[in-house]
């Protein structure tokens, strides 16, 4: 059976939000590159700290969601 004949299911809200966050991250990266080309100097260490903190928050949020769903 070709994939076109299979029923279509759109993603649930949680996955949509995740995808949109991924898009925001990509767009933010692009904006950072543009700023860099314009001469803006980034504090790479601070950037790394922020990225790690955001990543931690994301994983924490995922854990909380998983706990709530498990109840």
């Amino acid at each position: 059976m070709s994939s076109r004949n299979r029923p279509v299911v759109y993603r649930p809200l949680a996955q949509r939000v995740t995808t949109m966050l991924w898009g925001v991250a990509v767009a933010g990266f692009g904006a950072g590159v543009i700023a860099h080309l314009q001469g803006y100097e980034f504090d790479v260490e601070l950037l790394g700290i922020v990225v790690l903190a955001v990543l931690g928050a994301w994983i924490l949020a995922s854990a909380v969601v998983a706990i709530i769903r498990g109840r």
Binding site: Y10, W22, G23, A27, H36
Partner: protein, 450 residues
């Protein structure tokens, strides 16, 4: 855990081809099980495979990490899941992706071509040709794995006395079951079976063939499972919107460049804007409940490309009219027109129109100096002259080691501080002056008021 139906999911031929290698990541690995899986495929136990991996790590100068990251991302595990494919499907293994990114970064930083401006190539035999050694070792290792894996695919009679025992190969392929055949031999057998029996998905043992087709104990055909629902990709509308935005961006950037209002090269500027456009398209796909599909691949291509361009490959791009770079207190600033270069070590200077004047006698586009902080003066005013007065032993980095002061006496580089940006701009405008740490091991750079 995958099912037969998942095994039959539509996927890019690229991933199907990888599965056809019959190489799966092991289950006991410390970092993704790559070494275990590859070793098992070519007939090595875990321990010797790991020892060889560590030896390769040292022989390739860390480049092994890049190969490892690629294998981790692309090889399926025992249940058939490929990290990078799952990421594209929106079910990412975040932990593995982070580790792969770290490995890739370490590996790419260790590539033989990611030389630093301070590296003295004269210490190596044959000049820069030494980089071929770790590359050759890495290539040789990959070729050896391919040869051994191909050899393991052949039937026992076609192999030599060092062949892998059939029971071992069967054991290696057993966990994958019929979902993702663990060996190309099994894949081919399954394909042959599918063409002859109209779609049976029964697992074919390794080495099976015509004899199996004639086996008397055939199970009755089972009804096909109901079709799994699919999540659509971005679709033509989002793809066309993305393309349209990219074309509009190209037009706008061309216009800005035509009017001289663009700091960077038009192509570079467009590549930066394209990342934002792809990000916006991914947001749109997510908002409408679709998979990111090809947009995910595009995004990673852009991100990795930019990260490599900005951090790993020093002086990879020549930003014509993008502003030259000067290092002040360890921070590289864009200070004017001309040709700017990425400075990996943040210690080199390329300032102003050296193509025409400073680099007389040297190839156009030659990075200017290898530098240690040695000169300090204060810049005041909107314009200054940077005078470079090296002595006889200054070392320049060109395509080949270049030593001497030829044609460098009394060369001035004019830096247009009118277009200074960032901290330098702030300091200049505040009238505070800036401490400039520029210099070469045996040269002096003097920054004067114009």
């Amino acid at each position: 855990m995958t099912t037969n139906d998942e095994g039959q999911r539509h996927e890019a031929a690229f991933f199907t081809s990888i599965r056809g290698w019959g190489m799966t990541r092991g289950e006991h690995g410390v970092f993704g099980g790559v070494v275990e899986g590859v070793g098992e495929r070519i007939g090595l136990d875990r321990v010797p495979a790991r020892i060889i991996a560590v030896v390769l790590l040292f022989l390739t100068g860390g480049f092994f990490f890049a190969l490892y990251a690629a294998a981790w991302a692309l090889l399926p595990d025992r249940s058939g899941r490929i990290i990078i494919q799952d990421f594209g499907r929106g079910t990412p293994n975040v932990g593995a992706l982070i580790m792969i990114a770290i490995f890739a970064t370490i590996g790419l930083n260790a590539t033989p071509w990611s030389w630093s401006p301070n590296r003295d190539w004269g210490h190596f035999p044959f000049g820069g040709l030494w980089v071929l050694i770790p590359l050759s070792i890495a290539t040789g290792a990959v070729v050896l794995v391919i040869v051994l894996a191909t050899r393991a695919n052949k039937p026992p009679s076609a192999r030599g006395p060092m062949a892998i025992p059939p029971q071992r190969a069967s054991a290696a392929s057993a966990p994958t079951g019929a979902t993702y055949a663990a060996t190309p031999g099994a894949t081919k057998a399954a394909r042959a079976d599918a063409s002859s029996t109209q779609g049976s998905s029964t697992a074919i043992p390794l080495g099976g063939g015509a004899g199996d087709a004639a086996a008397p104990n055939q199970t009755p055909p089972t009804p096909p499972p109901p079709p799994r629902p699919r999540t659509p990709g971005p679709g033509s509308a989002i793809y066309l919107l993305t393309l349209s935005a990219a074309v509009f961006a190209a037009a706008a950037i061309w216009l800005l460049d035509r009017e001289g209002r663009l700091e960077a090269s038009p192509v570079v500027a467009w590549l930066a804007v394209a990342v934002v456009i792809v990000g916006a398209a991914i947001i749109l796909a997510g908002a409408t409940g679709r998979r990111v599909g090809f947009l995910g691949f595009l995004a990673w291509t852009f991100i990795i490309g930019w990260l490599v361009g900005l951090t790993v490959i020093p002086r990879a791009f020549n930003f014509a009219d993008g502003g030259a770079r000067i290092t002040i207190d360890g921070v590289t600033h864009t200070i004017g027109n001309g040709h700017g270069w990425f400075d990996q070590e943040a210690d080199a200077v390329s300032c102003g129109s050296y193509d025409a004047s400073v680099a007389a006698g040297m190839p156009a586009g030659t990075p200017v100096l290898t530098a240690n902080p040695s000169v300090f003066t204060t810049i005041a005013g909107d314009a200054a002259i940077v005078q470079i007065a090296p002595d006889a032993s200054v070392t320049f980095h060109a395509d080949e080691p270049f030593t001497g002061s030829i044609s460098w006496e009394a060369q001035n580089v004019t830096c247009d501080f009118d277009r200074a940006t960032g901290d330098l701009y702030s300091a200049l405008r505040a009238g505070e002056g800036v401490i400039v740490n520029i210099g070469a091991e045996h040269s002096a750079i003097v920054v004067k008021e114009n």
